[in-house]
C-alpha cells in the first residue's frame, strides 16, 4: 500500500527547508552584494571578500583558529587512540568508569567546563591564551574522538595482533603495521569531527582566550557587536566552503583507505 501524500505535510516540509536554508542563501547572496546597508541588491562585487582577506584581525583570527583546531585535534586523537586501546583490555568495571567519564564530557554543558577551567587557570595562574584554549577544546573533543575510535577498536580482531606478534613484530611494530592501519578510518573520521568542532567553537574559546589573539568565531562575535558589515557574510561563506571541502577530502580519504593506508603509513611494498 502506498502512503498518500497530503498537501499539508508537503507544506510543512517546504517551510522547514526554507527556514533552515534561507539564511545560508541570503548570506551567500549578500556576500557578493554591493549594497553596504544590505537592504537591496545593488550589483555583484567581490569587494567584501578582499576586505575580509585584508582585515588584520580576521587574518590573525584564522591563524589562531587553525593552530587551536590542529593542536586540540592532534592531542585528542592521541588520547582517544591510547584510551580506546586500554579500554579494549580493561576489566568490565574499569570500562564502565571510562565510558561514564567520556559521556560526561559530552553531556555536561560546555560552559560548565569553560568556567571551571577559567577559574582553575586563574587560581594556579596559568596564562590564558592559545594553550589554555587548546586544553579547553581537548576536554570535549577527546570524548567525541574516543567514541568514534572505540567503535572502530571493537571491530578489530585480536587474532590479527597475535598473528603479527607471532610473525616477529614487537609491540610497537604490531601497533604500527596492524593496529594503526585497522584504526585509520576511525582516526580520520574522528580527526575531521574534532577539527570541525574546534574550528567553530565560541564558548570555550571566549572564556579562555584572555587578552591575546582571538580565534575566528570570537572575532566574528565581537564584529557583529558593533556593526553588521557585509564582510561578515564573506567570512561566513569562506568558513562554510572550508568546512565542506574538509569533509569532502575526509570522505574520499576514508573510501580510498585500502590503497591510502599503505601510502599514508609508508608501509613497505613487495612487488613480484
Amino acid at each position: 500500500m502506498r502512503l498518500r501524500r497530503h498537501w499539508f505535510s508537503g507544506l510543512i516540509a517546504l517551510a522547514v527547508i526554507v527556514f533552515l536554508w534561507a539564511p545560508l542563501v541570503i548570506v551567500a547572496i549578500n556576500s557578493v552584494n554591493s549594497d553596504t546597508l544590505l537592504v537591496s541588491w545593488k550589483g555583484f562585487t567581490t569587494h567584501w571578500y578582499s576586505q575580509a582577506a585584508h582585515n588584520g584581525t580576521v587574518q590573525s583570527g584564522v591563524k589562531q583558529t587553525m593552530t587551536i583546531a590542529l593542536g586540540s585535534t592532534a592531542i585528542s586523537l592521541v588520547l582517544a587512540v591510547t584510551g580506546a586501546l586500554w579500554w579494549r583490555r580493561a576489566s568490565p568495571r574499569a570500562r564502565r568508569t571510562f565510558d561514564g567519564l567520556t559521556y560526561l564530557r559530552i553531556m555536561l554543558p560546555e560552559v560548565v567546563f569553560a568556567v571551571a577551567l577559567f577559574l582553575l587557570f586563574s587560581k594556579i595562574q596559568f596564562p590564558l591564551g592559545t594553550t589554555a584554549v587548546v586544553i579547553g577544546h581537548v576536554v570535549w573533543n577527546s570524548a567525541y574522538a574516543t567514541l568514534i575510535i572505540q567503535a572502530r577498536v571493537a571491530t578489530l580482531d585480536p587474532a590479527l595482533e597475535d598473528a603479527a606478534s607471532d610473525l616477529g613484530a614487537n609491540p610497537w611494530r604490531v601497533f604500527r603495521r596492524v593496529t594503526l592501519p585497522g584504526l585509520l578510518p576511525g582516526i580520520v573520521a574522528a580527526g575531521l569531527l574534532a577539527f570541525t568542532f574546534s574550528f567553530d567553537d565560541v564558548v570555550t574559546s571566549y572564556f579562555l582566550t584572555g587578552a591575546g589573539t582571538a580565534p575566528l568565531p570570537v572575532v566574528l562575535l565581537s564584529m557583529i557587536r558593533f556593526r553588521i558589515t557585509p564582510e561578515i557574510n564573506a567570512i561566513g561563506m569562506l568558513v562554510m566552503l572550508f568546512t565542506v571541502s574538509m569533509f569532502a577530502i575526509g570522505f574520499i580519504a576514508v573510501t580510498q583507505m585500502g590503497r591510502g593506508a599503505r601510502k599514508a603509513l609508508a608501509l613497505p611494498e613487495v612487488r613480484q
Binding site: D157, D166, G168, N170
Partner: protein, 352 residues
Amino acid sequence: METGAVRLQALRKTFGDLVAVQSLDLDIPEGGFFSLIGPSGCGKTTTLRMVAGLEHPDSGTIEVGGEDITRRPPYRRPVNTVFQSYALFPHLDVADNVAFGLIEERRPKAEIRERVAEMLALVQLTGRERSKPSQLSGGQQQRVALARALVKHPKVLLLDEPLGALDLKLRKELQGQLKAVQRRVGITFMYVTHDQEEAFSMSDRVAVMHEGRLEQVGTPEDVYRQPATLFTADFVGASNRTEAAVKQALGEGRYTLKSGSGYDVRARGPEGLATGAAVTLIVRPESLRLGDEGWPATITDVSYVGPAKHLELETQELGRLRATVGGGEPAAVGDRVNVSWPAEAAWIVGER
C-alpha cells in the same frame, strides 16, 4: 638421544578458577607431524598458544630445539602459527601478508621477493599475489596463512584447527596437501584438532588430551588399537566394552580374563596388570567376525553406509554388541549368527 623439537615440562595454566592445562609433560620428536587431539575445552589450544607465547604458563617450562623459551615473547620464538581464523591482515594483499614476517626480520628485498614467490608456488597461489584476503575463498585464505607462517622457516609450525571452518570435501583435500607440504619442508608440525579422523589421517604421532591432562601419546595405530584409558578408547572410535577381572597373566602382555558374566576370555593388554585387577575389555566393532564359530547372537539393527554395514547384535553372554562388516555382507535384522574376534583384537584397559 636426539633433542626433541618441543619439550613441555610440568606445564600448567589457569584462567581464574578454571584449570586449562594441569602439569603437562610432552615430548614432540623433530621433523614429524604431531597432533594434539581432544574435545573442546580440553586445553589443547591453550597448550599450543603457550608454545607460541600468546599465553603465559603459570608454571613449567617450554623448550624448542633444546632451548628454554618459556620467558620469551612471541616475536622472539622460533615458531610460527597458522590460526583457526587465519588472521590474515585485511589491509595487505597476499604477497604482503606472506612477506610480513620477513620484513620484520629485515631481510633484503630481493630475498623477500624470492622466498614469497617460492612459498606461494608451494601452496599453489602463484598469480594471486595482488589479491586481498577478502577476494579469496576459504581454502585459499587457509593456504595464504600456511605460506605466511612457513616462509619464516620456523623450527616448529603450530596449527590451531586450521581446517575447522571449511566444508568436508575441501577439508579432505587440504588434509592431503598439508601432509604433503610437511613431508616436503620437513618442519615439525604441531597440529591441534578435535577431529580424531583428521588427526589420524595426517599424523605420525598423536597425543590425546582430556580436562587439561594428557591421556595418551603414540602413533595413531597405538592409540586406536591399544588405548590406555577408557576416555581415549571412546574418543578415537566406537568400541564394545565389557567389565572383567584379570584371572591370569600369561606374560608379554597376554592375559586371561574372567568377564562379568563369568566367561573366560583371552586378550592383550598393558604389561603389569595384577591378578584380580578390575579392568575393561575392549573390542572395536570392525574386529568382530560373523560366522559359524563364537557366541550365538541375533542381529537387532542394520544401518548401511555404503562401504560398510553397522550392525547391532544381542548376545546372551556379552550383552549388546556393535559390529561393522563390509557393505556386501549378507546381514539382515533377525538373522541368527555366531560372533567371534581374533584374540589379538581384544584389548584390556586397566580401569573401569
